[in-house]
């Protein structure tokens, strides 16, 4: 066994670290560290910086402008980026639609859309979930009816992340309702400026606006915007859902979260004693650290396996489950370490003499609540357990 990276991987890690040190704008990193929402402008700036280095579309083949990193390189980048408080790369165009077009798109579609994703012309969002079709995606109801050289789309999508900024949306729509639920689904690209589209914000539990509802009323979509075959969109959807599963554990985020809690506990005093010296708090932190350390290795084991066989295994569902549990446990400890001050509404905290907490800690409770989503979205932990039951336990 050998847990260390190969010399090439170590060199790559050093390169990434240097790149982040040189190129990640300090003001953006500050905002990410404070746990607030990252603005559209920050994301676009960071995407452009990555693109100028050729590292934006990390999974794309060189022919399409990507470095075609393997799972280990992507993991190294993710971990280093999270530690450096880089904003996340938005996945919708780069990690979701791009690979789909590369595999299933026509030559015209590739030639038109891929460069626009890379250069930031098009901001994409995802139209999968519907009010009645979350985990049970195949039960989706948004209809697309052929009318000459257009589809006419009616229906509703929900949980559309950052849809308020999007120029385009890729959608699963129902083009045939006569067969099984998985049949009769098609994959459509829709211009958000088309008449009949309405985006309504969904405010989340902590007050933030990152997801939306998207309503379609007689929206006319040119037939050339169909990707792959009509009624075979389920093939595309499955590819998208299963092929991009490395990084699912969010190890980098948890490492950063652990460091944050530990640093806070070191500078927090309660009744003349540092919080980190409180045996009960320190024990709780230690137990999470062990879980995190184990998960790092578990993650590397899965990466090594993915590299060996060419694709990630079903065990990544275990990483998804444990990864969300560890992150949520750290969010919980972070909030608790702040004591009564954690209760302050972000953006309304007293400043100056009357300050309750450091500005970077103001979002602790909000992050805790917002991150309840990570065990729900992207295939809830319950769905992951069902997947594992079927695939691995064969029960």
């Amino acid at each position: 066994m050998d847990l260390s990276y190969s010399p090439q991987e170590q060199a790559f890690q050093a390169e990434v670290r240097q790149f982040l040190a040189d190129e990640l704008p300090g003001d953006i990193a500050e905002r990410v560290k404070a746990g607030g929402e990252v603005s559209k402008e920050d994301t676009e700036r960071w995407h452009a910086i990555l693109q100028s280095r050729g590292w934006l579309a990390q999974t794309w083949p060189e022919a399409y402008g990507g470095p075609e990193w393997g799972p280990v390189e992507r993991h190294i980048f993710d971990e280093e980026a999270a530690r450096a408080y880089a904003p996340r790369i938005l996945p919708f165009g780069l990690q979701m639609l791009g690979p789909v077009l590369i595999k299933f798109g026509s030559d015209e579609q590739k030639a038109h859309y891929l460069p626009r994703i890379l250069n930031g012309t098009d901001w994409w969002c995802q139209g999968y979930s519907e009010p009645g079709a979350g985990s049970d995606l195949a039960s989706l109801k948004t209809r697309a009816v052929r009318d000459g050289d257009h589809y006419v789309v009616n229906g509703q999508k929900t949980w559309t992340t950052l849809g308020q900024y999007a120029d385009w949306i890729f959608c699963l729509v129902r083009t045939d309702a006569s067969g099984k639920p998985q049949e009769g689904i098609s994959f459509l690209l829709i211009d958000m400026k088309t008449p009949g589209i309405e985006v309504r914000p969904i405010r989340l539990i902590e007050g933030g606006h990152e997801v939306n509802e998207v309503f379609f009323t007689d929206v006319r979509v040119p037939v050339e915007n169909l990707v792959w075959k009509e009624n075979d969109g389920w093939t595309v959807a499955k590819y998208l859902l299963t092929h991009e599963r490395t990084g699912i554990a969010g190890v980098g985020f948890s490492i950063a979260a652990f460091e944050r809690v530990k640093a806070l506990a070191e500078r927090t005093t309660r009744g003349g004693k540092r919080l980190i010296d409180d045996p009960l708090f320190a024990a709780r932190l230690a137990e999470v650290e062990m879980d995190l350390e184990a998960m790092k290795i578990f993650n590397l084991r899965m990466l090594a396996e993915a590299q060996r066989v060419g694709h990630p295994g079903v065990e990544t569902s275990m990483l998804k489950i444990r990864g969300t549990e560890v992150r949520q446990a750290l969010n919980d400890l972070y909030r608790r370490a702040l004591g009564p001050a954690a209760a302050v509404m972000p953006g309304e905290a007293p400043a100056g003499n009357a300050a309750l907490l450091a500005p970077e800690d103001e979002g602790a409770a909000a992050s805790y609540f917002n991150n309840r989503k990570i065990s729900i979205f992207g295939g809830s932990n319950e769905i992951q357990k069902n997947i594992l039951t079927k695939a691995m336990l064969e029960l």
Partner: protein, 346 residues
């Protein structure tokens, strides 16, 4: 042995519940709870008119209650309705004013709003650890004073001749910095800088400890009310929401988690009843610790069992969930109180 409420308390709880369901519908609640002054002045008056503030003191102090079960009856209703009004401060102030021999009529009528200022930034939850020095004027800093954003009078702890003393400070004479809470309602920081103060109780250690325990009991009862609401709402959701062609409540893994949630809530209710009966520090610490842990678990499970909808501001559950998590940090969190119980073994 009898676990029924007395008729008097039942009537009070019923009329309070009626008032709250009429006046504090969730939309109204959300509007007033998250914007300054983080409460509804008219709602406060209506609550006072109903007479619920009398429940916080015994007859000999001019009230009509004062027992643990009175707090339980009132705060369970407040929790079920997620009411953001600053009643916690009144519940803790009443016994302190009574002990000081002060007039409680302004508290009962709602004309005065009291807040208890105990915590200091480096000494949360433990009044004996504060460093503010007592005297005719006070200098120091008090933090996380619940209801402080609309208090007319603060009851402030300070050290005097090695003992913990209790002072009254008028809001109009003090530097008060209000803030809103992420789970609704408000609090304040109190910056004391030679601020005039009136000595209420010279040796107030026991009285303050007991008042804080009353506040903890009130928070436990509030949590029980809110947990009942969350459980019932989640159960309704599981019965109506369909996935993969059947109600999600048909899935056994979710059923067993609902049973565990319900069992935990009944445990929380039971220890709260015990704390209301005993009204001693050790039992209250047990209750606050157990309830704090159960409340967080119920909050997290209720969201998870709902899925995405439970994460949204529009869906009332999210606000109950926030309250259930955040009240753990008020007046000592679960680990603080666990350590308090553990220390009694030594």
């Amino acid at each position: 042995m009898n676990f029924e409420m007395t008729d008097d308390r039942r009537m009070l709880a019923d009329s309070l519940g009626k008032l709250l369901s009429g006046r504090y519908g969730i939309e109204h609640r959300t509007r007033v709870a998250y914007a300054a002054p983080y409460h509804d002045p008219e709602g406060w008056e209506a609550l006072a008119e109903l007479g619920i503030l009398y429940a916080f003191a015994p007859e000999e102090a001019g009230g009509m209650g004062g027992a643990g079960f009175d707090l339980l009856a009132v705060f369970e209703q407040l929790g079920a309705a997620l009411c953001p009004e600053p009643l916690l401060g009144a519940a803790m102030a009443a016994p302190l004013l009574a002990a000081a021999g002060d007039d409680l009529e302004p508290l009962f009528s709602g004309a005065a709003r009291y807040a208890l200022a105990v915590d200091e930034p480096e000494a949360p939850w433990d009044p004996q650890a504060g460093t503010t020095e007592g005297g005719d004027r006070l200098t120091g800093r008090k933090t996380a004073i619940y209801g402080g954003q609309v208090a007319t009078e603060f009851l402030v702890t300070a050290r005097k001749a090695g003992r913990l003393a209790l002072y009254a400070v008028k809001a109009e004479e003090a530097a008060v910095t209000p803030w809103g809470m992420i789970d609704g309602g408000g609090a304040a920081e109190l910056m004391l800088d030679g601020t005039p103060a009136r000595l209420l109780i010279e040796d107030a250690g026991e009285a303050v400890a007991s008042a804080l325990d009353r506040g903890r009991l009130a928070l436990c009862a509030e949590a029980v009310g809110a947990m009942d609401w969350c459980y019932a709402t989640t159960l309704d959701y599981l019965k109506s929401r369909k996935q993969f062609g059947r109600e999600i409540g048909k899935f056994q893994a979710l059923q067993h988690r609902m049973v565990e949630m319900k069992t935990a809530i009944e445990q929380a209710r039971s220890i709260t009843i015990l704390a209301a009966d005993r009204m001693d520090g050790r039992t209250t610490a047990m209750a606050k610790s157990l309830v704090g842990r159960v409340a967080r678990k119920v909050s997290e499970e209720a969201i998870q069992l709902h899925g995405g909808i439970g994460m949204t501001w529009e869906y009332p559950l999210s606000h109950y969930a926030k309250r259930l998590v955040m009240l753990d940090a008020q007046l000592g969190d679960a680990d603080f109180h666990t350590a308090r119980v553990a220390a009694t073994y030594a």
